[in-house]
């Protein structure tokens, strides 16, 4: 039986792993190559790099990070952040990434996802969705796509967007709840479940993991195919191996 995946995420800023709590309190969590190696040893199923480097002259650092990681870590690697053209995608794949995450560029021009998946194959294209709940408590739930780290609304409905992007060739969805990201309150399970039910491609739940039960809930209640987390792994609170043991103890199929 196919295992549910655990994916540690490394936010990389100018070549260092950082993790902000709701995008403010940035703490330094180390050298990305070293961190990736550690997660690989702990049994991570994949590793995701999110490049949050703001200055364009430091953009190349992520390419070198990926190159270095890919020559010693032999599990799937995904890179997101700042991917705007097919050329950007090729650079990442040539550096050793297996998949790229596309976010704002798709919002700006949805056809980009079509062109990208035609060129490099759907299996390489992960659509990153940053969604925020916009319905009030007495309404049926509704989520909207946000860009720019959750600051800019787009008016696009998250469910419609997920469906459209998979029709355009996105091979996987990385779904982040902007309401939960950095809070450690757990995934927005209703959002996760709704998107998982709406699309046929695998969905990775992200945003809000504070303990190991949250990871398991993302699978059992949210119906996600994979779960992504950053801070619970970065600061040594839990290892990926512990997370897997815990998920297994809750009856979830994992690669041990």
């Amino acid at each position: 039986m196919l295992a549910k995946r655990i994916i540690p995420c490394l936010d990389v800023d100018a070549g260092r792993v950082v993790k902000g709590v709701q995008f403010v309190d940035i703490r330094d969590a180390g050298d990305p190559v070293e961190v990736a190696r550690r997660y690989d040893k702990q049994g991570a199923d994949e590793i995701t790099f999110l490049d949050i480097t703001a200055s364009s002259d430091e953009r190349d650092t992520i390419v070198h990070v990926v190159e270095e990681v890919a020559s010693e870590v032999f599990i799937p690697l995904t890179v997101g952040g700042g991917i705007r053209t097919v050329e950007d995608i090729r650079r990442m794949l040539n550096a050793g990434a297996d998949k790229v995450g596309i976010n704002s560029a798709a919002v700006k021009r949805p056809e980009f996802v079509k062109e990208a998946s035609d060129k490099v194959g759907s299996q390489c294209i992960v659509l990153s969705i940053d969604a925020k709940r916009v319905s009030s408590d007495d309404e049926s739930p509704r989520w909207e796509i946000f860009t720019h780290g959750g600051r800019q609304g787009t008016g696009i409905d998250a469910v419609e967007w997920a469906k459209r992007m998979t029709e355009y060739g996105a091979g996987e969805i990385l779904l982040t709840s902007m309401d939960r990201d950095g809070t450690r309150d757990g995934f927005d399970l209703e959002l996760t479940r709704t998107i998982c039910d709406a699309v046929d491609v695998p969905v990775i739940a992200s945003g809000g993991v504070g303990n190991l039960d949250h990871l398991a809930d993302g699978i059992t209640i949210g119906k996600a195919d994979a779960v992504l987390a950053a801070s619970i792994f970065h600061f040594g609170e839990h290892t990926v191996a512990e997370a897997k043991q815990h998920m297994a103890s809750r009856g979830i199929e994992v690669r041990l």
Partner: protein, 210 residues
């Protein structure tokens, strides 16, 4: 030892070559479409990604049909992912595509109503799944039966002669994920992305005495 990783422009071969270099640090590993080097190489790794029709067209564009056919018949040859599928005769993909025809059989898509224990299964089959050894083989050395490997695919091979199946995987149905015949071994999963067991399989391939 010369190892050719055949490059016909389909997919990123860096991770394949890096993984091979990792297990064979003294070998001359080249990502190449040079038929002469392929002809002279001691071992061949034949990866591939993408749609069947594009793969076949790319093999043709690189004038590699004959070099691949020769290698598949006369030296240790490891097919990976599309490098397994294009060895068969025909694929359903792209309204039907003729393949290289090295192995009798077809490539078919996972059915749309695929499910397990009442739960609908997603296609592509993406992630880590168990590989059951259905044959004893040198490439399974030091790899446990049912160890997990990383898969990404929507189509799978149906062999005419089940006797050459060397591994199977369950995903709503049981499908052939590895084949072995004489000097040839080919897998649907990605050993170069399958951590320790994947590297072990590549190492076994490098050490394999046909």
């Amino acid at each position: 030892m010369k190892i050719a990783v055949i490059d016909y422009g389909m997919g990123n071969l860096r991770s394949v070559s890096k993984a091979v270099e990792h297990v064979a640090p003294d070998a001359d590993v080249r990502v190449t479409d040079d038929a002469t080097f392929i002809g002279a190489a001691d071992r061949i790794v034949f990866p591939g990604q993408g749609a069947a029709r594009d793969c076949m067209a790319a093999i043709g564009d690189h004038h590699l049909n004959q070099a691949i056919l020769d290698a598949a018949h006369n030296k240790p040859f490891l097919g990976i992912c599309m490098g397994l599928q294009v060895l068969l005769q025909r694929s359903e993909e792209n309204e039907g595509t003729d393949l290289l025809g090295v192995i009798p059989g077809e490539v078919v898509r996972f059915p749309l109503d695929l499910n397990q224990d009442g739960e609908k299964l997603k296609v592509p089959h993406m992630g880590w799944n168990g590989v059951k050894h259905t044959m004893e083989h040198a490439l399974w050395n030091n790899i446990e039966d049912n160890a997990r490997f990383y898969f990404v695919h929507s189509y799978y091979v149906q062999l005419q002669d089940e006797a050459i199946q060397s591994g199977s995987t369950d995903y709503g149905l049981s499908f052939t994920c590895a084949i072995a015949r004489d000097n040839l071994f080919a897998v649907q999963f990605h050993p170069e992305k399958s951590a320790h067991d994947g590297l072990q399989l590549l190492k076994n391939f490098i050490e394999w005495k046909v």
